[in-house]
Protein backbone atom coordinates (compact mmCIF):
# COMPACT_ATOMS: atom_id res chain seq x y z
CA UNK A 1 0.00 0.00 0.00
CA UNK A 2 2.15 2.78 1.10
CA UNK A 3 4.08 2.32 -2.02
CA UNK A 4 3.43 5.95 -1.39
CA UNK A 5 7.12 6.65 -1.47
CA UNK A 6 8.47 10.07 -0.78
CA UNK A 7 8.35 10.86 -4.44
CA UNK A 8 4.62 10.77 -4.51
CA UNK A 9 4.11 14.45 -4.81
CA UNK A 10 5.86 14.39 -8.12
CA UNK A 11 3.99 11.47 -9.50
CA UNK A 12 0.50 12.74 -9.08
CA UNK A 13 -1.48 14.11 -11.90
CA UNK A 14 -0.33 17.54 -12.80
CA UNK A 15 -2.46 20.35 -14.08
CA UNK A 16 -0.11 20.76 -16.99
CA UNK A 17 2.44 18.52 -18.63
CA UNK A 18 5.55 18.50 -16.43
CA UNK A 19 7.74 20.05 -19.10
CA UNK A 20 5.62 23.12 -19.13
CA UNK A 21 5.24 22.65 -22.83
CA UNK A 22 1.87 23.01 -24.50
CA UNK A 23 -0.15 19.76 -24.52
CA UNK A 24 1.30 16.93 -26.52
CA UNK A 25 0.70 16.93 -30.27
CA UNK A 26 -2.93 16.38 -31.02
CA UNK A 27 -4.27 13.79 -33.39
CA UNK A 28 -6.60 16.28 -34.94
CA UNK A 29 -6.71 20.03 -34.87
CA UNK A 30 -9.55 21.53 -32.86
CA UNK A 31 -10.68 24.83 -34.32
CA UNK A 32 -10.04 27.86 -32.16
CA UNK A 33 -13.65 28.89 -32.05
CA UNK A 34 -14.50 25.64 -30.35
CA UNK A 35 -11.95 26.26 -27.65
CA UNK A 36 -13.25 29.73 -27.07
CA UNK A 37 -16.79 28.51 -27.13
CA UNK A 38 -16.09 25.88 -24.52
CA UNK A 39 -14.38 28.33 -22.24
CA UNK A 40 -17.01 30.92 -22.86
CA UNK A 41 -19.80 28.49 -22.10
CA UNK A 42 -18.12 27.29 -18.96
CA UNK A 43 -17.46 30.86 -17.92
CA UNK A 44 -21.02 31.89 -18.55
CA UNK A 45 -22.35 28.94 -16.63
CA UNK A 46 -19.99 29.65 -13.79
CA UNK A 47 -20.90 33.31 -13.69
CA UNK A 48 -24.55 32.53 -13.70
CA UNK A 49 -24.30 30.04 -10.88
CA UNK A 50 -22.13 32.27 -8.77
CA UNK A 51 -24.22 35.35 -9.18
CA UNK A 52 -27.30 33.36 -8.34
CA UNK A 53 -25.84 31.96 -5.16
CA UNK A 54 -24.42 35.37 -4.33
CA UNK A 55 -27.84 36.91 -4.56
CA UNK A 56 -29.28 34.25 -2.32
CA UNK A 57 -26.60 34.20 0.34
CA UNK A 58 -25.53 37.80 0.47
CA UNK A 59 -28.42 39.14 2.54
CA UNK A 60 -27.84 36.51 5.18
CA UNK A 61 -24.12 37.14 5.25
CA UNK A 62 -24.64 40.87 5.54
CA UNK A 63 -27.23 40.35 8.21
CA UNK A 64 -24.92 38.15 10.16
CA UNK A 65 -22.11 40.67 9.91
CA UNK A 66 -24.37 43.44 11.04
CA UNK A 67 -25.57 41.34 13.91
CA UNK A 68 -22.06 40.54 15.03
CA UNK A 69 -21.17 44.23 14.92
CA UNK A 70 -24.29 45.13 16.85
CA UNK A 71 -23.52 42.50 19.44
CA UNK A 72 -19.97 43.69 19.77
CA UNK A 73 -20.79 47.35 20.03
CA UNK A 74 -23.61 46.82 22.45
CA UNK A 75 -21.39 44.61 24.55
CA UNK A 76 -18.57 47.12 24.91
CA UNK A 77 -20.86 50.13 25.20
CA UNK A 78 -23.22 48.49 27.71
CA UNK A 79 -26.16 48.09 25.37
CA UNK A 80 -26.66 51.60 24.02
CA UNK A 81 -29.98 52.51 22.48
CA UNK A 82 -28.40 53.58 19.20
CA UNK A 83 -25.07 54.59 17.80
CA UNK A 84 -23.52 56.76 15.11
CA UNK A 85 -20.81 55.54 12.80
CA UNK A 86 -17.97 58.04 12.49
CA UNK A 87 -15.13 57.96 10.01
CA UNK A 88 -11.54 58.98 10.59
CA UNK A 89 -10.53 61.18 7.72
CA UNK A 90 -7.53 63.49 7.51
CA UNK A 91 -6.93 63.57 11.24
CA UNK A 92 -10.48 64.25 12.28
CA UNK A 93 -13.75 62.44 12.85
CA UNK A 94 -16.59 63.02 10.49
CA UNK A 95 -19.98 61.47 10.14
CA UNK A 96 -19.97 61.82 6.37
CA UNK A 97 -16.73 61.22 4.57
CA UNK A 98 -16.37 62.68 1.08
CA UNK A 99 -17.57 60.41 -1.72
CA UNK A 100 -15.24 57.77 -3.04
CA UNK A 101 -12.49 57.87 -0.40
CA UNK A 102 -11.69 55.02 1.92
CA UNK A 103 -11.77 56.05 5.55
CA UNK A 104 -8.69 55.25 7.62
CA UNK A 105 -10.74 53.90 10.47
CA UNK A 106 -14.25 53.82 11.84
CA UNK A 107 -15.43 54.41 15.38
CA UNK A 108 -18.90 54.16 16.83
CA UNK A 109 -20.43 56.68 19.18
CA UNK A 110 -23.17 55.20 21.34
CA UNK A 111 -26.12 56.98 23.00
CA UNK A 112 -28.36 55.95 25.85
CA UNK A 113 -32.15 55.94 25.60
CA UNK A 114 -32.17 59.53 26.88
CA UNK A 115 -29.71 60.72 24.29
CA UNK A 116 -26.73 60.87 26.64
CA UNK A 117 -23.51 59.66 25.08
CA UNK A 118 -22.18 56.38 26.51
CA UNK A 119 -18.84 56.46 24.77
CA UNK A 120 -16.95 55.41 21.70
CA UNK A 121 -16.52 51.88 20.44
CA UNK A 122 -13.16 51.52 18.72
CA UNK A 123 -11.65 48.56 16.89
CA UNK A 124 -7.98 47.71 16.62
CA UNK A 125 -5.63 44.90 15.66
CA UNK A 126 -2.02 44.06 16.46
CA UNK A 127 0.11 40.93 16.35
CA UNK A 128 -0.19 38.82 19.47
CA UNK A 129 1.55 35.56 20.28
CA UNK A 130 0.58 33.73 17.10
CA UNK A 131 -1.12 36.11 14.76
CA UNK A 132 -3.18 39.28 14.77
CA UNK A 133 -5.55 39.89 17.66
CA UNK A 134 -8.51 41.97 16.58
CA UNK A 135 -10.73 43.54 19.21
CA UNK A 136 -13.25 46.25 19.91
CA UNK A 137 -13.37 48.29 23.10
CA UNK A 138 -15.61 50.92 24.59
CA UNK A 139 -14.12 54.19 25.77
CA UNK A 140 -15.66 56.97 27.77
CA UNK A 141 -13.78 60.10 26.74
CA UNK A 142 -15.24 62.23 29.51
CA UNK A 143 -13.87 60.11 32.33
CA UNK A 144 -10.95 58.70 30.33
CA UNK A 145 -11.90 55.15 31.21
CA UNK A 146 -12.26 51.99 29.22
CA UNK A 147 -15.73 50.61 29.67
CA UNK A 148 -15.59 47.27 27.94
CA UNK A 149 -13.53 45.05 25.66
CA UNK A 150 -14.37 42.20 23.30
CA UNK A 151 -11.99 40.15 21.18
CA UNK A 152 -13.27 39.86 17.62
CA UNK A 153 -10.76 37.39 16.31
CA UNK A 154 -7.53 35.79 17.45
CA UNK A 155 -5.50 32.68 16.81
CA UNK A 156 -3.93 32.54 20.26
CA UNK A 157 -3.15 29.19 21.82
CA UNK A 158 -6.26 27.45 23.07
CA UNK A 159 -6.15 27.12 26.82
CA UNK A 160 -3.62 29.92 27.15
CA UNK A 161 -3.86 32.93 24.94
CA UNK A 162 -7.51 32.41 24.14
CA UNK A 163 -8.27 33.27 27.76
CA UNK A 164 -8.25 36.88 26.61
CA UNK A 165 -11.70 36.18 25.21
CA UNK A 166 -12.81 33.20 27.28
CA UNK A 167 -11.67 34.20 30.76
CA UNK A 168 -14.48 36.36 32.08
CA UNK A 169 -12.34 37.66 34.92
CA UNK A 170 -9.89 39.08 32.44
CA UNK A 171 -12.59 40.56 30.24
CA UNK A 172 -14.16 42.13 33.33
CA UNK A 173 -10.84 43.87 34.05
CA UNK A 174 -11.70 46.24 31.22
CA UNK A 175 -14.83 47.60 32.79
CA UNK A 176 -13.70 50.87 34.21
CA UNK A 177 -9.90 51.19 34.30
CA UNK A 178 -8.37 54.54 33.52
CA UNK A 179 -6.13 55.03 30.52
CA UNK A 180 -3.37 54.59 29.73
CA UNK A 181 -3.71 51.05 30.93
CA UNK A 182 -0.90 49.39 32.80
CA UNK A 183 -0.58 45.58 32.74
CA UNK A 184 0.61 43.97 35.96
CA UNK A 185 1.04 40.48 37.32
CA UNK A 186 -1.67 39.67 39.82
CA UNK A 187 0.90 39.08 42.55
CA UNK A 188 2.35 42.55 42.16
CA UNK A 189 -0.83 44.59 41.77
CA UNK A 190 -0.90 47.83 43.77
CA UNK A 191 -4.53 48.69 43.19
CA UNK A 192 -3.89 51.77 41.05
CA UNK A 193 -6.84 52.85 38.89
CA UNK A 194 -5.15 52.08 35.59
CA UNK A 195 -3.97 48.58 36.43
CA UNK A 196 -5.11 45.50 34.57
CA UNK A 197 -4.14 42.04 35.86
CA UNK A 198 -2.50 40.03 33.14
CA UNK A 199 -3.21 36.34 32.66
CA UNK A 200 -0.50 34.05 33.97
CA UNK A 201 0.88 32.03 31.11
CA UNK A 202 -0.52 34.42 28.55
CA UNK A 203 1.31 37.56 29.42
CA UNK A 204 2.00 38.30 25.80
CA UNK A 205 -1.58 38.06 24.66
CA UNK A 206 -2.68 40.16 27.62
CA UNK A 207 -0.09 42.76 26.88
CA UNK A 208 -1.15 42.89 23.26
CA UNK A 209 -4.76 43.56 24.26
CA UNK A 210 -3.65 46.36 26.55
CA UNK A 211 -1.29 47.61 23.89
CA UNK A 212 -3.98 47.79 21.23
CA UNK A 213 -6.20 49.90 23.46
CA UNK A 214 -3.40 52.21 24.50
CA UNK A 215 -2.10 52.67 20.99
CA UNK A 216 -5.50 53.32 19.48
CA UNK A 217 -6.31 55.87 22.15
CA UNK A 218 -2.95 57.53 21.73
CA UNK A 219 -3.77 57.96 18.09
CA UNK A 220 -7.46 58.67 18.18
CA UNK A 221 -7.83 60.26 21.62
CA UNK A 222 -7.30 63.87 20.48
CA UNK A 223 -9.72 63.40 17.60
CA UNK A 224 -12.37 62.01 19.91
CA UNK A 225 -12.02 64.96 22.20
CA UNK A 226 -12.05 67.42 19.33
CA UNK A 227 -15.19 65.83 17.99
CA UNK A 228 -16.95 65.95 21.34
CA UNK A 229 -16.05 69.59 21.81
CA UNK A 230 -17.33 70.44 18.39
CA UNK A 231 -20.53 68.52 18.98
CA UNK A 232 -21.33 70.12 22.33
Amino acid sequence: MSGAGAGNGEKRVLPQAPEGAPPAPEPKEVPAWRLLLTLGAAGALAGLLIVFVYQVTQPRIQAYKAMMLRLAVSEVLRAPARWDTLYVYEGALTATPPEGVVAEDTVFLGYREDGIRVGFAITGAEPGFQDFIELIFGYDAETSTVIGMKVLSSKETPGLGDKIEKDSAFVAEFEGPEVPLQGVKAARATGAANEVDMITGATISSRTVIGIINHQLERLGPMLEAYLEEAS
Binding site: A6, G9, E10, G20, I50, V51, E126
Partner: protein, 191 residues
Protein backbone atom coordinates in the same frame (compact mmCIF):
# COMPACT_ATOMS: atom_id res chain seq x y z
CA UNK B 1 10.00 50.34 6.18
CA UNK B 2 9.86 48.64 9.58
CA UNK B 3 6.39 47.61 8.65
CA UNK B 4 7.62 45.88 5.50
CA UNK B 5 10.38 44.17 7.46
CA UNK B 6 7.94 42.74 9.98
CA UNK B 7 5.60 41.55 7.26
CA UNK B 8 8.54 39.77 5.69
CA UNK B 9 9.80 38.18 8.90
CA UNK B 10 6.32 37.20 9.95
CA UNK B 11 5.60 35.38 6.73
CA UNK B 12 9.03 33.79 6.68
CA UNK B 13 9.55 32.39 10.16
CA UNK B 14 6.84 33.36 12.64
CA UNK B 15 4.01 32.07 10.51
CA UNK B 16 5.99 29.98 8.07
CA UNK B 17 3.66 28.81 5.31
CA UNK B 18 4.80 25.22 5.34
CA UNK B 19 5.42 24.67 9.01
CA UNK B 20 2.47 26.57 10.47
CA UNK B 21 -0.13 26.76 7.73
CA UNK B 22 0.67 23.41 6.07
CA UNK B 23 0.75 25.05 2.67
CA UNK B 24 2.50 23.66 -0.35
CA UNK B 25 2.92 20.34 1.40
CA UNK B 26 2.70 18.26 -1.74
CA UNK B 27 5.76 19.77 -3.38
CA UNK B 28 7.33 19.85 0.07
CA UNK B 29 7.00 16.10 0.40
CA UNK B 30 7.92 15.54 -3.21
CA UNK B 31 11.00 17.61 -3.88
CA UNK B 32 12.64 17.85 -0.51
CA UNK B 33 14.87 14.89 -1.17
CA UNK B 34 17.85 16.80 -2.54
CA UNK B 35 19.20 20.18 -1.55
CA UNK B 36 19.87 21.20 -5.13
CA UNK B 37 16.31 20.48 -6.25
CA UNK B 38 14.94 22.13 -3.13
CA UNK B 39 16.84 25.32 -3.85
CA UNK B 40 15.53 25.51 -7.39
CA UNK B 41 12.02 24.74 -6.23
CA UNK B 42 12.34 27.53 -3.69
CA UNK B 43 13.46 29.96 -6.36
CA UNK B 44 10.57 28.95 -8.59
CA UNK B 45 8.21 29.52 -5.68
CA UNK B 46 9.54 33.01 -5.04
CA UNK B 47 9.11 33.78 -8.71
CA UNK B 48 5.50 32.62 -8.89
CA UNK B 49 4.68 34.31 -5.60
CA UNK B 50 5.97 37.59 -6.96
CA UNK B 51 3.82 37.33 -10.05
CA UNK B 52 0.85 36.29 -7.95
CA UNK B 53 1.32 39.14 -5.54
CA UNK B 54 1.28 41.68 -8.34
CA UNK B 55 -1.81 40.08 -9.87
CA UNK B 56 -3.60 39.98 -6.56
CA UNK B 57 -2.81 43.61 -5.86
CA UNK B 58 -4.12 44.57 -9.28
CA UNK B 59 -7.31 42.59 -8.94
CA UNK B 60 -7.89 43.76 -5.43
CA UNK B 61 -7.46 47.39 -6.36
CA UNK B 62 -9.34 47.52 -9.65
CA UNK B 63 -11.66 44.57 -10.10
CA UNK B 64 -12.90 43.14 -6.84
CA UNK B 65 -14.54 46.30 -5.52
CA UNK B 66 -17.04 45.85 -8.35
CA UNK B 67 -17.44 42.08 -8.37
CA UNK B 68 -16.45 40.60 -5.02
CA UNK B 69 -17.93 37.24 -5.89
CA UNK B 70 -15.33 36.76 -8.62
CA UNK B 71 -12.48 36.78 -6.13
CA UNK B 72 -11.57 33.11 -6.26
CA UNK B 73 -12.16 32.57 -9.95
CA UNK B 74 -10.31 35.67 -10.99
CA UNK B 75 -7.37 34.95 -8.70
CA UNK B 76 -6.89 31.47 -9.92
CA UNK B 77 -7.30 32.26 -13.59
CA UNK B 78 -5.31 35.48 -13.63
CA UNK B 79 -2.43 34.07 -11.63
CA UNK B 80 -2.25 30.99 -13.80
CA UNK B 81 -2.25 33.02 -17.01
CA UNK B 82 0.22 35.55 -15.71
CA UNK B 83 2.63 32.83 -14.69
CA UNK B 84 2.17 31.21 -18.08
CA UNK B 85 2.96 34.47 -19.86
CA UNK B 86 6.03 35.23 -17.74
CA UNK B 87 7.14 31.69 -18.22
CA UNK B 88 7.05 32.08 -21.98
CA UNK B 89 8.85 35.40 -21.73
CA UNK B 90 11.59 33.88 -19.63
CA UNK B 91 11.91 31.02 -22.06
CA UNK B 92 12.64 33.57 -24.77
CA UNK B 93 14.85 35.90 -22.76
CA UNK B 94 16.83 33.52 -20.62
CA UNK B 95 16.72 29.86 -21.58
CA UNK B 96 19.18 29.09 -18.78
CA UNK B 97 16.88 30.50 -16.14
CA UNK B 98 14.01 28.69 -17.73
CA UNK B 99 15.82 25.39 -17.55
CA UNK B 100 16.52 25.95 -13.86
CA UNK B 101 12.98 26.87 -12.90
CA UNK B 102 10.85 25.72 -15.77
CA UNK B 103 9.83 22.24 -14.76
CA UNK B 104 8.66 23.43 -11.37
CA UNK B 105 6.45 26.25 -12.55
CA UNK B 106 3.42 24.20 -13.61
CA UNK B 107 3.74 22.26 -10.38
CA UNK B 108 3.29 25.30 -8.23
CA UNK B 109 1.23 27.65 -10.33
CA UNK B 110 -2.01 26.29 -8.98
CA UNK B 111 -0.64 25.53 -5.57
CA UNK B 112 -2.25 26.32 -2.28
CA UNK B 113 0.63 28.40 -1.00
CA UNK B 114 0.30 30.78 -3.94
CA UNK B 115 -3.44 31.11 -3.68
CA UNK B 116 -3.31 31.49 0.08
CA UNK B 117 -0.74 34.25 -0.24
CA UNK B 118 -2.84 36.14 -2.77
CA UNK B 119 -6.02 35.59 -0.79
CA UNK B 120 -4.51 36.73 2.49
CA UNK B 121 -2.81 39.70 0.88
CA UNK B 122 -6.18 40.81 -0.44
CA UNK B 123 -7.97 40.16 2.85
CA UNK B 124 -5.44 42.14 4.81
CA UNK B 125 -5.65 44.96 2.33
CA UNK B 126 -1.90 45.14 1.77
CA UNK B 127 -0.69 47.80 -0.62
CA UNK B 128 1.67 47.01 -3.48
CA UNK B 129 4.90 47.01 -1.45
CA UNK B 130 3.42 45.30 1.56
CA UNK B 131 2.12 42.66 -0.81
CA UNK B 132 5.58 42.10 -2.26
CA UNK B 133 7.13 41.92 1.21
CA UNK B 134 4.52 39.35 2.14
CA UNK B 135 5.11 37.34 -1.02
CA UNK B 136 8.88 37.34 -0.61
CA UNK B 137 8.63 36.49 3.07
CA UNK B 138 6.39 33.59 2.20
CA UNK B 139 8.75 32.52 -0.57
CA UNK B 140 11.80 32.76 1.66
CA UNK B 141 9.97 30.75 4.30
CA UNK B 142 8.99 28.03 1.82
CA UNK B 143 12.54 27.88 0.54
CA UNK B 144 13.95 27.71 4.04
CA UNK B 145 11.67 24.84 5.00
CA UNK B 146 12.41 23.01 1.76
CA UNK B 147 16.16 23.36 2.03
CA UNK B 148 16.28 22.41 5.69
CA UNK B 149 14.15 19.38 5.03
CA UNK B 150 16.21 18.42 2.00
CA UNK B 151 19.52 18.65 3.80
CA UNK B 152 18.11 16.63 6.67
CA UNK B 153 16.77 14.01 4.31
CA UNK B 154 20.09 13.76 2.52
CA UNK B 155 21.61 13.09 5.89
CA UNK B 156 18.92 10.56 6.66
CA UNK B 157 20.09 8.41 3.78
CA UNK B 158 22.90 7.32 6.09
CA UNK B 159 20.64 6.57 9.03
CA UNK B 160 19.11 3.25 9.88
CA UNK B 161 15.59 4.59 10.08
CA UNK B 162 13.28 1.82 11.31
CA UNK B 163 11.31 0.14 8.56
CA UNK B 164 7.94 1.35 9.74
CA UNK B 165 9.07 4.95 9.73
CA UNK B 166 10.59 4.93 6.25
CA UNK B 167 9.01 7.02 3.56
CA UNK B 168 6.55 9.71 4.44
CA UNK B 169 6.14 8.95 8.14
CA UNK B 170 9.60 10.14 9.09
CA UNK B 171 9.29 13.18 6.85
CA UNK B 172 6.11 14.23 8.62
CA UNK B 173 7.67 13.72 12.00
CA UNK B 174 10.68 15.80 11.02
CA UNK B 175 8.33 18.47 9.70
CA UNK B 176 6.59 18.35 13.07
CA UNK B 177 9.89 18.81 14.87
CA UNK B 178 10.80 21.70 12.58
CA UNK B 179 7.44 23.25 13.27
CA UNK B 180 8.04 22.76 16.99
CA UNK B 181 11.45 24.38 16.76
CA UNK B 182 10.12 27.31 14.78
CA UNK B 183 7.59 27.93 17.56
CA UNK B 184 10.50 29.66 19.21
CA UNK B 185 9.80 32.56 16.89
CA UNK B 186 6.22 32.88 18.10
CA UNK B 187 5.40 36.27 19.47
CA UNK B 188 8.34 37.81 17.65
CA UNK B 189 5.92 40.42 16.35
CA UNK B 190 4.31 41.34 19.60
CA UNK B 191 6.93 43.47 21.30
Amino acid sequence: MGDLFWIFISAMVVNNFTLFYFLGLCPFMGVSGRVYTALRMGAANIFVLTVASICAWFLNAFVLPYAPYLKLISFILVIASAVQITEMTIKKLSPALFRALGIYLPLITTNCAILFMAWTQANRGYNFFQGLAFAWGAGAGLTLALVLMASIRENLLFSKVPEIAKGNAIVFIIAGILSLAFMGFAGLLST
